[in-house]
């Protein structure tokens, strides 16, 4: 059995998926991200972005600038909506 080379474990995207998307005309990190959801999973691109960058440079023959990396936004890790919005009374710590 031939295995796939996985680029993005969060969204199960293979190297071939990325190459196919590039050949369909998705030729920058932002477009690939929107098309394939790379970098949108729980790891937020820690594993995949540099791998996608390498594939992109190889397939297009063009350097990918770091300025085109996806923007980092809070939260950098998954946080439940409950934690962000839960209504609880009483517990308020203040350190002075």
């Amino acid at each position: 059995m031939k295995h796939h080379a996985i680029v993005c474990r969060c969204e199960d995207i293979t190297e071939q998926d990325v190459i196919d998307a590039i050949h369909q005309g998705y030729t920058d990190l932002e477009e690939l991200r929107r098309k394939l959801r790379i970098g949108m999973g729980p790891c937020q691109g820690r594993v995949c972005i540099s791998l996608v960058k390498k594939i992109l440079e190889k397939e297009t023959g063009k350097k990918v600038s770091v300025e085109s990396y996806p923007t980092s936004r809070p939260p950098v890790i998954p946080i439940s909506l409950g934690a962000l919005a839960k209504k609880t009374r009483g517990e308020n710590e203040t350190k002075s």
Binding site: K2, R34, I77, S80, E91
Partner: protein, 419 residues
Amino acid sequence: MEVNGIPNVRTCIAPLLEGVAVRMQDRLASWPQNNTDNAFVSTVQDIDILIVGAGPAGMEAALQAATFGASVLLVDENQRVGGQLIKQTHKFFGSKEEKAGTRGISIAKDLEDQLCDDRFKDKIDVLLDATVFGFYEDDTEDRYTFGVISRKEYKSRLIKVVCRSVIFTVGAMENMLLFPGNDLPGVYGAGAVQTLMNVYGVKPGERVLMVGAGNVGLIVGYQLLQAGIKVDRVVEAAPTIGGYHVHAAKLRRCSVPIYTRHSIKEVFGADCVKGAVVVELDDHWNPIQGSEEIVTCDTVCLAVGLTPSTRLLEQIGVDMALVPEAGGYIALHDERMQTSVPRVYVAGDSSGIEEASTAMIEGKIAGAMAAKQLGYQQEKAQTAYEGFLKELKRLRAGPFGAKPRDAKQRIQRLWRKRP
């Protein structure tokens, strides 16, 4: 984008409703006042210095800052302090001041004891099992606000931290390799192998193919042998061994071959690793057809470099640059370890990949200088800083320090060239 007062909304997937207020948000967000009124948010106010990451750099930064009188909140994702030190069963190099001859695990214990020392009781707070997840703009000038999520006892708790200064000692991420089967059970990063073996006492497998002959690959290779695990070989894509000769020699004396100009082509096995195919590379790093060789193993350990963690620094908007010698995209900083944003410091691997011994000194520098900047014992802090700077230069002076020295010099040059 900000939608109805809620920052960092990905408007591309947000529903468009009648009367919705959408505002441009230029990187920085304000803490959503109206939305937190009802939410469970505890606040930690008036901290002098928030230190993100309690590895070697973060612990030393906390100790220094507290020594000069600053109050410190030290936050770490893990359930204990120490960072990578708690996995490092080998002895350190360098001079006596840098704890040469001491094992990483002992250094971690020593620093942990110091953090718990009575004299720092009112100065250092350690928050474990918690992650700093985002940077928010504060209403007050000269204060920074961060969102922290605590996961203690499997309960998520949101904490708003307001501080005057912040030191990022967040470490690095392991690099991944692309090859068929790279997600099969049995393919590990070297950090995971060390955690299993040295922290939990669990063998990752019985027969290992090590990919990468830098210090991490060589040291973990030897630790695998110590744990009674067979290391079939080490493959290294570069034409030379990247790590120290002494680590390579230890493996060679135990008859573990190191193949330079070799890489992993694929792994095979139905539902877990049963073996791997390695291949020789030509001068252009391309596989040489017909040079494939099958390696029987149940574990593939990837030790192919580290990339500095910079996502929180990117959120703050510090000046960054691509410095390959330092491991990638890094925050530019001066000799005091301060970034382009006032009172925002960086130290350790997140300021450029190096070693625990230099990370500790960088941490001391950042801790002392952050305290000084806030007005604590300025003369004493300055004297301490000058001492640490000399230590750092001495440690990087040898032939082994060439690469980090080049990287840091390049960072200094880029720092000075900033507009």
